[in-house]
Structure formats: structure tokens, C-alpha cells
């Protein structure tokens, strides 16, 4: 029987997992263990509904409703001193529960604190843009839209950023294969030569490690070299290997390079 490969998550899986393997978790601390975080969480929780909050590896992680993202980040910026949005992006959990997890990584320069605001959003829903608060979200939100297809409301210029404008599919989704999909393999052929050339050129090789055993135009086997483009489907003759004498230098003899420099 063919091995079952789930279609909703094509990420590489461990080929073997011990039956008794228990996944440990990174330890978390309660927010009350840190004075500054506790104070900031108080301010936040009085105005926005907090789903969960804890400290992990020195940074606070606050989960909120996705409708509150602008409000929560506004409070953090104006009342808690988080002046910089270092990073924001999403994590694809569509295969598990049909949602994306969007995170905003904020930095408070005065108190040297970092907080991560996290919200879950269902596929097909749009998130409110935080560009009016932080201009750095301009590029980040575009990247999130490009990579996951999450639409951002009220973004000044929501357009693909890393992929071409006419690209189909969103590469960081778990459903998107690592080597690219059908569209990706024809993209350049179609664009440069036109669809009519598909039969002549064939799909693009998107596996950089692929080696065609009988391709004598790009590869040659050491010890079995043949003329360029020769047909070797019937086997190829062995050629004796000749070593250049200039290669026989004893690099371990001394550290000449260092000595020469001195």
C-alpha cells in the first residue's frame, strides 16, 4: 500500500518517533513573577479581553481576540511604552484547527522588555492593520499577506512583496510543497516563452539536488567521462583517473599561511 501523506500539511515529518516519546514543553512562568510585565498586563486587561498570558524565555506572551489587535497594541504603545514593533507574522495552524496564529513582537526600549501579542484568526477573515501605530508593519503585513494570504484591513498598499504580483498560492502555507506546486513549475516557461512552448521546454526543475543519471550535458561521472551530450543509455566506458601532480601539496606540514603573514 502507498504510504498515506496528509494533503493539508506537507511539511517534512520525522521518519521515526519512539512510541514512548513524550514531548516536553518549554517552562513558563506566571506573569506576576515579573513586576513590570504584571503592571503592563493589568493596564491591558482592564481594556481588552485577555485569553491567556504567561512569560516564556524572558518575554511575555499575551493572547487576545483578533478583533482587539489594534486596540491592544495601541494600549501597549501609548500606555506601556512599547515604542517599536520588531516583527510580526503568522503561523499556519489550518491543518489543526483552521486558524492562523498572528504574532506581534513589541519592544520597550526604556524598560528593555519584549512582549509578544498573539491572536488566532480563522481562514478567510481579515485582520486590522497596525500601520497607523507602527510604520514597520507596512512591509511586515505585506509579507504576511504574501506568504499566508491573510488579508489586512486598511493597509495603505497591500500587495505581494517577495513573490511576483501574478503568483498563485502562498508559499508559507503548510499545504504548499517545498519544491513549489504545478503553477510554480510552469511560471517562468509561460512567462518567458509562452504557453505554447510548454511541450518543447518541459516543466522547470525545482529540485536543486536532482541529478539525471543519463544527462551528459550538465553532469559527468568521475572516471566515466564521455563527450558532451553523448547518449549513455547503453552504458559508458571507463576512463582511467589521472591526478594532477600540483595537487600533491602537504597542507599539514606547517602553518605556512600564518607564518607568511607575520
Amino acid at each position: 500500500m502507498r504510504k498515506y501523506v496528509p494533503k493539508d500539511n506537507v511539511q517534512k515529518k520525522a521518519y521515526y518517533t519512539d512510541r514512548f516519546h513524550v514531548v516536553p514543553s518549554v517552562p513558563t512562568q506566571d506573569v506576576s513573577t515579573d513586576e513590570i510585565f504584571a503592571k503592563q498586563l493589568d493596564i491591558l486587561s482592564s481594556k481588552v479581553e485577555i485569553k491567556s498570558a504567561y512569560i516564556q524565555i524572558g518575554q511575555m506572551r499575551v493572547e487576545i481576540n483578533h478583533q482587539d489587535n489594534y486596540r491592544a497594541i495601541e494600549i501597549l504603545k501609548n500606555e506601556c511604552g512599547y515604542e517599536m514593533l520588531s516583527e510580526m507574522s503568522a503561523v499556519d495552524y489550518l491543518a489543526k484547527d483552521g486558524t492562523f496564529e498572528i504574532f506581534y513582537q513589541l519592544l520597550n526600549l526604556k524598560e528593555r522588555k519584549r512582549v509578544r501579542v498573539v491572536c488566532r484568526i480563522e481562514q478567510g477573515l481579515a485582520i486590522e492593520s497596525v500601520v497607523p501605530l507602527y510604520k514597520s508593519a507596512n512591509f511586515s503585513e505585506r509579507e504576511m499577506f504574501d506568504m499566508f494570504g491573510i488579508v489586512v484591513n486598511n493597509h495603505p498598499f497591500l500587495k505581494r512583496i517577495l513573490m511576483p504580483d501574478d503568483w498563485e498560492g502562498h508559499p508559507l502555507l503548510k499545504t504548499y510543497p517545498l519544491q513549489g506546486d504545478e503553477f510554480a513549475s510552469w511560471y517562468e516557461v509561460d512567462k518567458i516563452f509562452g504557453k505554447d512552448a510548454r511541450e518543447v521546454i518541459g516543466p522547470e526543475n525545482r529540485d536543486p539536488a536532482r541529478i539525471d543519471r543519463y544527462d551528459t550535458k550538465r553532469f559527468s561521472r568521475v572516471g566515466r567521462e564521455v563527450p558532451f551530450g553523448a547518449d549513455i543509455s547503453g552504458g559508458e566506458p571507463e576512463t582511467p583517473i589521472e591526478y594532477s601532480s600540483t595537487l600533491l601539496v602537504d597542507y599539514n606540514a606547517s602553518q605556512t599561511q600564518l607564518k607568511n603573514r607575520k
Binding site: P24, S25, V26, T28, V91, R114, S136, F139, L178
Partner: protein, 409 residues
């Protein structure tokens, strides 16, 4: 967005003919001053920029996607290709994120070596900045001198790890190699040389150079508010008068034990940033000299002892059965960090380089996000360039010091 059909195919280029007086030009993606693959669409009124649109993605290789399909150790050499001017900084930022995730303490000697490598890389990157920035602005000779010193620094890296650009000189849990004989002496000599050249060559050529000052002063003025709002970090942030250096504020490795200053420029312009880079290089050589003294006091252990995550040293693998089994499992299956998430910020030569890793307890990261400083500095261009003149565009791009390996990832 365009609607392509058979008669009007899709064009990457915008419409070049316009009704008003402005002209649209493409700056790049093959322009030598664009520092790689930056395509900047500029709308010009005469020579003044009315609108700027940085178009990126020409070097997009999907490194974050690759990270999801590689084990943690497999991915490390790929991080070299982010900021290829100072690749050890990327290796380190990634290794630090994974180490924090699994809660690993690195041996002291590894810390000393790592900090040394990071500072060498900072010098390499800053020398590259001085060289290319001066070249962009028109001072060709500085390029030649700075590359000479950079070459010596790359020799040092080559002596340590065997590679000049793609170092992979840091491993998760430590460093792979001890310092070779005579390396510290060579490093000391290089520090002296860089210090000497900084003062007597680059500074002498540029600091009071009339043309250099005319081209840089009051060009690319970035207010502190904008710098924060655009997520600028590193020299771009400190060039706007905000003294925030992650090495000092959120110290990692040995930076809390070292004595160094954080230079700040409050002129907010390209000239201030240039002087900041020069001052930072002096600080880096100061740090390196302190580290040379610290190296002698350390124990010879290079990799952390954590059999669940890190392979044993080579001698043990070759002699002890259990170490070999552990190594086999770690190579074939990969390490499995605990479930959780981490964001580890580091101060790379360009700014805040951080890796966000979401682990689900699998040998493959569920999500890895690379927070690259240059990405945000490129985003800033769309505002910073407006109102400037075309020759200043080159200065400003040079001054932001963006590297496209990490912009496009």
C-alpha cells in the same frame, strides 16, 4: 494589479509615459549602487524624488520555508546565506535562538570564541560598509584600502573555520573548533592594523573631506520618532540619537563582562551614521583585545554537554558506543527541542537580527521567522527618499547598509 491577456501581456515595469511632468525610472535591480537586487521605482520631478517604491524579492529563496523542512542542525549552514557579509552573526543568532529554546548553557571557551567571531564579523561588515559606501559616493581609493584590511580579516576567519564568506563557524551548543596556533597573535596584529588604518587612512581620507561632507551631511535625515516607528535598529537607530544596543541592553554571551561603549550620533544624517560606524569599529577592536586576554583562562571544553540535543565530541564518538548511538540518532532524526516558542534578538552588524522559532516538539521547526534588520531598513526607503535628489538616493541606500540576502531571505 494588471489584467494580463494575450494582447497585453503582464509587464513587471510600470507605465513610463505619464501625463504630468514627473518621470518614472527604475533604479536597479542590477544597479551597482543598489547593493544587490534592489529595484527602486522612483518618480522624479526633475531630479527630485516625488515617490519611491522599493521592490524587493529578486533574491527570495524561501529560507523560512526551507527551515520548516530541515532539522535544526541541517538549517545552520543555510543561515550563512542571509547576511552574507557577516555570516557568523546569522549562524550565531540562529544558534542562540535554538539554545534558548532547549535551555542550553554554552561552555565558557565557546563563549569567548563566539564573541570574538561576532566582533570580527562586525569589523568585516563595517569595513565593507565603509568601502562600498565610499565607492558609491565616489571615493574609490577608500574602497581599495578598506578591502585590503577586510581581506586580512577574512584570512583570520579562513584560518579559524576554513571559509571566507559562508562561515558556519558556530554550532548549536558551542563552536566546532578551538582556535589554531598563532591565531590570537594574528588577531591582535589585525586589530592594531585596523585601528591604525581607521585613524590614518579612512578617517584621514574621509572625515574632513569636503566632497564627502557635502555628499553626506544633512542627507537622509531620519528623526528618532521615524526610526522607532519604522523598526530601525543598529546603526540606523543609534544614528538617530537613540542609544539602544542589544549587546548592552539585553546582553548575551560575554558582552556583560566586557568594557565597551555604545557610540551614538545625534545629527540623524548619513554623515553621523558614517562616524558612528567608524566609532563602532574602534569599540570592536577594543572588545577583541579584551577577549584575547579572557581566552587563556578558559577550560578547553567547546561544546555543551547535553546528550539529548548535542552530539558528543569526536573522540568520544569514535571510542564510545553510547556516544556513537546518540550521534547517529541526532544526525538521522535530528534534535527535538521542547514545545514552545522563542524570539532571540541579537545585535548583528546591521541591526537587530532575531530568530522567532515555534517548536511543536518535532525535529523540524513548525515555524521559523527571521527578523532581518535590512528588511525594515528597506521599508524605510519609501519615506526617507521622498524629497531628496537622485544622487542622494545612492548615498542613502549606502548609508542604510542593506544586504539583500536578508531582505529577501
Amino acid at each position: 494589479m494588471q489584467q494580463p491577456n494575450k494582447l497585453s501581456p503582464f509587464f513587471e515595469n510600470l507605465n513610463f509615459e505619464r501625463d504630468d511632468n514627473t518621470m518614472v525610472i527604475n533604479f536597479g535591480p542590477q544597479h551597482p549602487s543598489a547593493h544587490g537586487q534592489l529595484r527602486l521605482v522612483l518618480e522624479l520631478n526633475g531630479e527630485q524624488v516625488v515617490k519611491a517604491y522599493p521592490d524587493i524579492g529578486y533574491l527570495h529563496r524561501g529560507i523560512e520555508k526551507m527551515a520548516e523542512n530541515m532539522t535544526y542542525n541541517e538549517f545552520l549552514p543555510t543561515t550563512d546565506r542571509l547576511d552574507y557579509i557577516a555570516s557568523t552573526a546569522n549562524n550565531y543568532a540562529y544558534a542562540l535562538a535554538v539554545e534558548r529554546l532547549i535551555g542550553l548553557e554554552v561552555p565558557r571557551r565557546a563563549k569567548v570564541i563566539r564573541t570574538m567571531l561576532l566582533e570580527i564579523n562586525r569589523l568585516l561588515s563595517h569595513l565593507f560598509f565603509i568601502a562600498t559606501h565610499a565607492l558609491d559616493v565616489g571615493a574609490m581609493s577608500v574602497f581599495l584600502y578598506a578591502f585590503r584590511e577586510r581581506e586580512f580579516g577574512m584570512d583570520l576567519m579562513e584560518d579559524y573555520c576554513g571559509a571566507r564568506l559562508t562561515h558556519s563557524a558556530v554550532r548549536i551548543g558551542g563552536v566546532p573548533l578551538d582556535i589554531p596556533d598563532g591565531w590570537l597573535t594574528a588577531l591582535k596584529e589585525w586589530c592594531d592594523k585596523v585601528d591604525y588604518e581607521l585613524e590614518n587612512t579612512y578617517n584621514a581620507l574621509l572625515e574632513k573631506n569636503r566632497i564627502w561632507k557635502m555628499r553626506l551631511e544633512n542627507v537622509g535625515v531620519l528623526s528618532p520618532e521615524d526610526a522607532l516607528s519604522w523598526g530601525c535598529t543598529g546603526p540606523m537607530l543609534r544614528g538617530s540619537g537613540i542609544a539602544y544596543d542589544i549587546r548592552k541592553e539585553e546582553p548575551y554571551e560575554l558582552y556583560d563582562e566586557l568594557d565597551f561603549d555604545i557610540p551614538v550620533a545625534d545629527t540623524n544624517d548619513s554623515y553621523g551614521r558614517y562616524r558612528l560606524y567608524m566609532a563602532e569599529m574602534k569599540e570592536s577592536t577594543k572588545i577583541l583585545r579584551q577577549l584575547i586576554d579572557k581566552y587563556g583562562e578558559t577550560e578547553p571544553q567547546l561544546m555543551a554537554h547535553a546528550p539529548q540535543y548535542i552530539s558528543a565530541p569526536k573522540e568520544q564518538i569514535m571510542t564510545q558506543n553510547y556516544a556513537l548511538m546518540q550521534h547517529f540518532v541526532l544526525v538521522t532524526q535530528g534534535m527535538r527541542p521542547p514545545k514552545g516558542e522563542v524570539y532571540a534578538p541579537t545585535e548583528s552588524p546591521k541591526g537587530e537580527l532575531g530568530f522567532y522559532i515555534k517548536s511543536e516538539g518535532e525535529p523540524y521547526a513548525y515555524r521559523l521567522k527571521c527578523r532581518a534588520p535590512s528588511f525594515f531598513h528597506t521599508g524605510l526607503l519609501q519615506e526617507l527618499l521622498i524629497g531628496t535628489y537622485l544622487p542622494d538616493v545612492v548615498t542613502i541606500i549606502g548609508s542604510t547598509n542593506i544586504v539583500f540576502g536578508e531582505v529577501d531571505r
